[in-house]
């Protein structure tokens, strides 16, 4: 489907804009997504890549554009710019959703059906062979902790049970890609832990997961890649280990004078000072050896040079700002 340089080849992919990978093995490839509602820009050039079997967390404060991004991938929101492919098909093409499971942020299932009937409807919609329905439905119910409740009417479910049912529809029929939008919003702490286990189980099966959440701890525990959105832009993306570690270093020198500070400031921002030790937020994580070399060249004896382990929350607050999460 794609040439080695990633450009689309002629043929079945002719309706796909250039720049979008159409490899069916790539669950999500989105480039430059733009969406404007009247005069409010919700997505401002969002790039998002989810590789096969990857668990990617889409983070951001309320109103950052997470749900809009997800909906555009599902063809529910029409983009004003950019292009996206899902499982090798243009986003919005029903065929892109053949092997995709989705739990909406705002979920509700027909109260007049029982849990198994809801799942049977979804099994028919994804074209699961009739002979596999019973087993697939039981598997899905078991996986989300609703085994034994499948025969109850949805109208009698608690909000948390409805969210579990939504998770069951999302994992029904072993999809290649599962998109979960705030999957634990209605769950208690035990339910949240079970969802984390469920996501890990999906990863072990090789299922790609896009997890939309503002619960940093949740994302930190299950995701291997992270994309942080703020005001419709990607402000940071990469492997969790790269994001959470090493952007800041603690530097201790024999004498922290103006010369040493000038060198440190050449590599980033000095965020704190204590005696002869400074904390430096590096512009480039890979610049630690260069920083060491510069200090030595300047005649400053290095006592310590330690990458600081930061929590995802520190990174998040740094990027998004402590007081800007509301009112957007």
């Amino acid at each position: 489907m794609t040439t080695t340089d990633g450009s689309a080849t002629a043929g079945s992919t002719s309706d796909v804009p250039p720049g979008v990978m159409t490899d069916p093995a790539v669950p999500i490839a989105a480039v430059g997504l733009r969406k404007t509602y009247r005069d409010r820009t919700v997505l401002d050039g969002v790039d998002l890549h989810v590789g096969a079997g990857q668990v990617v967390g889409l983070l951001g404060p309320n109103g950052a554009g997470k749900t809009t991004t997800v909906k555009s991938l599902l063809g529910m929101v029409h983009l004003d710019g950019g292009s996206a492919s899902v499982l090798g098909r243009p986003a919005g093409d029903p065929a892109a959703r053949r092997a995709l499971g989705y739990l909406p942020e705002q979920f509700q299932y027909p109260g007049w059906l029982d849990g198994r009937q809801v799942l049977a409807t979804h099994a028919r919609l994804i074209g699961l062979p009739r002979s596999e329905h019973d087993r697939a439905i039981s598997d899905a119910l078991h996986l989300v902790g609703l085994a034994g409740r499948g025969g109850d009417r949805v109208s009698g479910y608690s909000k948390g049970m409805q969210q579990r049912l939504g998770l069951a529809t999302a994992v029904l029929g072993s999809p290649t890609l599962v998109i979960l939008d705030e999957p634990t919003s209605a769950l208690d702490p035990i339910g949240r832990r079970e969802v984390r286990d469920l996501i890990r189980a999906l990863r072990d099966r090789g299922t790609a997961v896009l997890l939309n959440s503002h619960l940093l701890g949740e994302v930190e525990q299950v995701c291997d890649h992270i994309v942080i959105l703020d005001r419709g832009r990607v402000v940071r993306s990469g492997a969790l280990s790269d994001i959470a570690v090493g952007a800041e270093v603690r530097v201790g020198v024999a004498r922290l004078d103006d010369g040493a500070l000038a060198i440190l400031q050449g590599f980033g921002r000095v965020t704190a000072r204590d005696g002869e030790t400074a904390l430096v937020a590096l512009d480039d994580v890979a610049a630690v050896p260069a920083l060491a070399a510069a200090l030595v060249r300047g005649g400053h004896g290095i006592r310590e040079l330690v990458p600081v382990q930061r929590s995802l929350e520190d990174v998040f607050v740094d990027l998004v700002g402590p007081n800007e999460g509301e009112d957007r």
């Binding site: 929101v77 029903p94 499971g101 979920f107």
Partner: protein, 276 residues
Amino acid sequence: MTIVRLTLREAANRKVLLVGAVISTAFLVLFFVGFNVGFNSAAKESDPFESAAAATLMAVLGLYAVQFLAAFMAVLLASGAVAPEIESGRLHAVLARPISRTSWLAQRAGTFAALAAAYIMVMSGAILLIAGIVAGYDAISPGRAVALLALEVAVLVALGTALSVRLSGLAAGIVVIALYGAAWIAGIMEIVGIVLDNQALERIGVVVSLVIPSDALWRGASYYLLSPVYAAATSAENGIPFVGAGAPSVAFILWSIAYAGGWSLVADRWFRRRDL
């Protein structure tokens, strides 16, 4: 067909079918009793034409009530076709499946139209059967009448569905019922215009029947529901008010079909363009 099943199940489980069946059965029992008493007393005291007129009047009014119920059923179902599904979030889970919006909407609106049309068929059949058994009533063409009434509910479902893409369920329902009422009044104005020989009134009636053909379709259908004896002896001037005095024109029927088809296309276009 999955959405058809789901929609039917929704109608069944939301008690639409049950309540409809109970009320309709009560209505038919009432109609049977009323028709029986009314026709027998008319047959005892008047000449054959007058008793035929009495039978016609009662049968057509019974069918008018059926048309009214079916129209409201169509409007209430269709005006909740899309907006409440989006607001509740039920739609998102379904449309994340490999199904196009067009297919979902066509199956859903089509099921509603079919339900209302089936209701018309069953209830019209029952009324005509009662009138036939009690009074030997024989309409001009029940088949054509039912076809026109089915077209009427199709018109209302198409319009209601389109509006439910743009408006809330309540607002869409109010707009369609208001238009249905306007058509009804315009139909009366047209008849009054004919009786008074006032062309301006007549013209208003014609224009409104093009804007919303529901009442004109009823009047076309009602003509086919008259007994031939009665229809031959009356005209618009001395017939039953809000009942048609002649067969609808082919042009008007084609317009109504195009109207339903047109609103269906508009509904599809609006729905495909809408952000969910």
